[in-house]
């Protein structure tokens, strides 16, 4: 469901498939790994994510809080289709850096 890669500038987590109410444990592991990384911004690459629900949106908000506590910004990148529309409904553009 996720893969984390670190570069000099960004720490990138790539999500794929679905992010829903039964994925909290996996997502927490990813989030903690990402926030503990030392490099740059936290980027969530979403091009391979097909579906997100309200719980998934909540997970991203909680990641944002944990990152903020560590003085790290979170960017959401390449959301498509249903995921993009869920972000719009929830006004995520006002909460995250949303990148095409």
């Amino acid at each position: 469901m996720f893969d984390v890669s670190l570069s000099e500038n960004d720490s990138v987590a790539t999500l794929s498939g679905q992010l829903t109410f039964s994925d909290h444990g996996t997502f927490r592991d990813m989030a903690r790994h990402l926030v503990a990384s030392r490099s740059g911004r936290l980027v969530i690459e979403l091009g391979g994510l097909d579906f997100i629900d309200s719980a998934g949106l909540g997970m991203l908000l909680l990641l944002r809080e944990e990152a903020s506590a560590a003085q790290r910004a979170v960017a959401l990148r390449n959301a498509k289709g249903q995921v993009n529309r869920m972000f719009a409904v929830s006004r995520f553009d006002t909460l995250f850096v949303v990148e095409p």
């Binding site: 039964s22 927490r28 579906f51 629900d53 309200s54 909540g58 997970m59 869920m86 409904v89 929830s90």
Partner: protein, 179 residues
């Protein structure tokens, strides 16, 4: 839309149960499927139901996506708050969310709860589709009013459906969408 008086077809497996799209269109068409709470939690009932529905009627534009998104949220609420009887947790950190998921897993091991059913039904006219989700939980006497009490899921449903109604003391949620 008139109340459903009878069911033209019932599918408990999700298999096609009524005339294919090129067959005669039944009047007052409906489609329904019932599953256990455990099946609903572990499967992808919303995705499957909308795919089955799309075999029966045309879902233009982003309608299939909206139906699946709203139905997914309604089924999640039916499982967690309905049949498993969990109140909305304070989801203010990831550890608490993970703990909540562990509670759900333990409750699903109880046969009396995991066997409670979730029923998804659809009926439609030329101008609209109504999806309903029915659970077998205890319901509630007063529907939640504030956004925080409703939860993010119900907010999503109210945003993307054209009309939302609750019934059966909170055990039933009906969502209408213009076609």
């Amino acid at each position: 839309m008139p109340p459903t008086k009878r069911l033209r077809s019932v599918s408990r497996t999700g298999a096609p149960a009524i005339a294919p799209p090129d067959g005669p269109v039944p009047e007052d068409p409906t489609f329904e499927t019932t599953m256990s709470t455990a099946q609903a939690y572990r499967g992808q009932p919303a995705k499957r139901f909308v795919a089955d529905l799309a075999q029966r009627i045309a879902l233009a534009g982003d309608l299939a996506e909206r139906l699946e998104t709203a139905l997914h949220e309604a089924v999640a609420n039916a499982i967690i708050h309905g049949n498993l009887g969990l109140s909305s947790p304070r989801q203010d950190d990831l550890d608490r969310c993970v703990a909540q998921e562990a509670v759900i897993a333990r409750l699903l091991e109880r046969p009396d709860l995991s066997r409670r059913t979730v029923t998804i039904s659809a009926r439609w006219t030329a101008s609209e589709i109504e999806l309903a989700v029915q659970d077998e939980g205890h319901g509630y006497s007063e529907p939640p009013e504030t956004p925080a009490e409703q939860g993010r899921g119900l907010f999503i449903i109210r945003t993307i459906a054209d009309h939302v109604a609750t019934g059966d003391d909170g055990r039933r949620l009906a969502m209408r969408f213009a076609r």
